[in-house]
């Protein structure tokens, strides 16, 4: 007996929720960004688990894993862009506190 799919999904959901909580709670935009990455990797886990669950004859469905590979690649690109944005923002405002980013209000 191996681990049921549900447990993978629950683990992935918990990891995602923690990331979500971090995004909501933290004010440091860098940490918020880290939490975003965590949410993405949590999604990866469920994708890989699904690929296993869908597999026939003991071979996983690799489409799901390809998708998660794409997610990783996009996450990498996103991090590079996001961090560049944060750097640019820090240059402009000398802060990484997201609660200071309230110019939308005015």
């Amino acid at each position: 007996m191996t681990i049921p799919l549900a447990h993978y999904l629950i683990f992935s959901g918990i990891l995602f929720s923690i990331g979500l909580a971090g995004v909501l709670i933290r004010r440091n935009i860098l940490v918020v960004f880290m939490c975003l990455e965590m949410m993405l990797s949590a999604a990866n886990i469920s994708l890989v688990a699904f690929s296993r669950a869908q597999g026939t004859e003991g071979i996983p469905v690799y489409d799901a894993q390809v998708l998660s590979l794409f997610i990783v690649a996009i996450a990498a690109a996103e991090v590079s862009i996001g961090l560049a944005l944060i750097v640019a923002m820090f240059r402009a405002r000398r802060t990484v506190d997201s609660s200071a980013l309230n110019t939308l209000k005015d």
Binding site: Y8, R52, A53, G58, Q65, L83
Partner: protein
């Protein structure tokens, strides 16, 4: 059986550790500590991926997330000289925790109530059927219980390295496949990636390229004149 029991214990331990480290990422006020916790969390996640037999994905998790991305984060944290952030009130904390726990509760509920979650078998169902079964419809579900899709939430099926080797190496004889040790995960993934998803892969590389160019364009110093 012993092996699989070890596997289970390892999964639960690593899962708990990964979740703990993830909580650490949120809880520590120092961004450097957050980053280190995230590295650990990614490591444990990678271990779980290995346990699932997705070795390539585990490696990618380690290299890309724990390696590249995390290092980037650390660079930025140090470059910007970010201080520990001050407390941000009770209200956002409560809202965040509530939203996150409700979300986790929903996911858990859904996962535990997947069709066939009680069965041990995880029979093969087409994705379409599963989506139909999961979809919320206003009409009452099919009349007979037999029509209900069974088993999506059960145990993951065992990996079959013989079949995998056969699928990975077309010319291989069944005896050789049966004798082969190791599971050809990378080979199979690569096969899917470079045949079925070749064009998407190429487009993805363009996305990465544009990401690089964009990052350079954003981060370069804007001259005052």
């Amino acid at each position: 059986m012993f092996e699989s029991a070890i596997c289970q214990i390892i999964f639960y331990v690593f899962a708990a550790l990964a979740a703990l480290c993830a909580i650490g990422v949120v809880a520590f006020r120092n961004p450097v500590a957050s980053a280190m916790n995230m590295a650990l969390s990614f490591g444990f996640t990678a271990a779980i991926l290995f346990g699932m037999g997705a070795q390539f994905m585990g490696i990618v998790q380690l290299i890309v997330y724990a390696g590249a991305i995390l290092v980037l984060f650390l660079f930025i944290v140090m470059m910007l000289d970010v201080k520990a952030e001050e407390h941000s009130g009770l209200m956002p904390m409560v809202v965040g925790v509530v939203v996150a726990s409700v979300f986790a509760g929903i996911v858990t509920h859904v996962a535990l109530h997947l069709p066939g979650a009680g069965d041990n078998a995880c029979p093969v169902l087409t994705a379409c059927e599963n989506i139909d079964a999961l979809a919320v419809t206003d009409e009452p579900k099919a009349e007979t219980p037999a029509a209900k899709p069974t088993g999506f939430g059960g145990s993951l099926p065992q990996l079959n390295s013989t079949a995998a080797n056969l699928a990975a190496n077309p010319g291989m004889s069944p005896e050789a496949a049966a004798a082969a040790t190791g599971y050809p995960d990378v080979k199979l993934l690569g096969k899917t990636l470079f045949t079925q998803y070749n064009i998407a892969f190429v487009i993805l590389s363009f996305a990465l390229l544009s990401g690089t160019v964009g990052a350079v364009a954003l981060a370069r110093k804007i001259r005052k004149d």
